[in-house]
Subunit: 223 residues, 2 copies
DNA sequence: CGCTCTATTGAACCGCATCAACGAACGTGG
DNA sequence: CCACGTTCGTTGATGCGGTTCAATAGAGCG
């Protein structure tokens, strides 16, 4: 489950129960550290317990695409032909619950976990299809609004009014996620700010003053 | 397994053996007919036996994104939360091998098939990630070249020299797949033709005169 | 306080979309 | 079989959204 334009609420999967959280030592990944690289063999998958990671791909000439941001509850590391097909590094200090690769390949090893992984993979396919629509058919303003909308829906401090979201990623990460440049992302933020739809608290924290207007911009209902 | 920029050769999965092909009646889908719509409940998956289908999503305002083209060997219809998340219709007359939904959800029902479906889902995730890079970070010329490259790699008549590919989809389908307009797609084809990289035989058949040059354009190594 | 890195803002350019016209392919009916 | 209409693809002219290049402002940190 990754950050996409989907508005569905995706619940963290119950792979790691609270009990386990208390007992186990999780894999710890410091901000900036890589968990794996494209081409590495997949030995285990991970569910993110806390923190945020970034999945990226790069072309030889340096062009980069952020495939997804991984948030708590998300499962990362699905193999294709046994290999990782993105790089993965942490945006902030992150804790991960490792999952046996065998749970994916061998359905009798851990049937419930296996089913959970399958569901996570299917959800991810759906989420990526949403992302296609965004990358291929939305304007810069719509992309940025869509991005904020998803973050608010999934991670907005709901006990707060107006809702607030953290942006642990840089403008350039957002740009590479949305297929834009940092300048354009910045301009879109500014436009939303000047329209009194959001308020920026520093560069990495956003208060959504008018969620309805944000919604409309995300779907291109006004400019 | 869908049409993406991936260059890997993807083999048709052995879900439907030759024996079965001869015995069974496949689901027949006429050109232009819909197999399912977004929001429909998923009751079965399908492996494409022959023909080509188109998976699409549309926004309320009519903007369309072609998510994938499904070719023989591909498995389509993966559910998310039990529902289809694209429309699916046939570009040409198509035969489909239906697959019990239960084979996906219940790993003990048909273990081998279940494993095959899992692998197909994982491959699809990988393929979609390739597509991200293309939608988000490639120029129009690179997109069109990448598209042709994949078609040649997967479906090019290999017994022929120079390689030849059919384009069962319209320019507008290609445009909606690549996040472009029909005019731009057409201009890119013309540019490749004028550079003697391809030859157009009618509008729906392409001979690749210079595969190496096509490769280079796909990766942005010139222009 | 000064250094560095990131974000913002401005100005000019360009790639692709848009709008429009034309041509080719195809089917239909006379 | 040809005249016609319709749809799809190509080509041209123009405009705009987003990139590019450049400069400034701000945030984090020693």
């Amino acid at each position: 489950m990754y950050v996409t334009i989907s508005t569905e609420d995706r619940q963290p999967l119950p792979v790691a129960s609270n009990r386990e959280c208390e007992r186990k030592q999780f894999t710890k990944l410091n901000a900036g550290s890589y968990l794996y690289l494209e081409g590495d063999e997949v030995t285990r998958l991970y569910q993110i317990v806390s923190g945020v990671v970034r999945l990226t791909r790069v072309l030889e000439d340096g062009r980069r695409q952020v495939i997804a941001f991984g948030y708590p509850g998300d499962i990362i590391g699905f193999p294709a032909k046994g290999l990782h097909h993105t790089d993965c590094d942490a945006l902030v200090d992150t804790r991960l619950a490792p999952i046996h690769r065998r749970a994916l390949d061998d359905s009798s090893f851990a049937p419930e976990l296996h089913a959970t992984l399958m569901m996570a993979a299917l959800d991810e396919i759906s989420a990526m299809q949403d992302h296609f629509m965004m990358l291929g058919r939305k304007s810069a303003a719509e992309k940025v609004a869509s991005f904020l909308r998803v973050l608010v829906a999934r991670f907005g401090a709901s006990d707060r009014e107006p809702p607030m979201v953290d942006l642990p990623m840089s403008r350039s990460d957002i740009a590479d996620f949305l297929g834009l440049t940092t300048e354009t992302v910045s301009r879109c933020f500014t436009a939303l700010r000047k329209a009194n739809i959001i308020r920026l608290i520093g560069a990495n924290r956003v208060e959504v003053l008018d969620p309805t207007a944000l919604e409309q911009r995300a779907d291109g209902q006004l400019n």
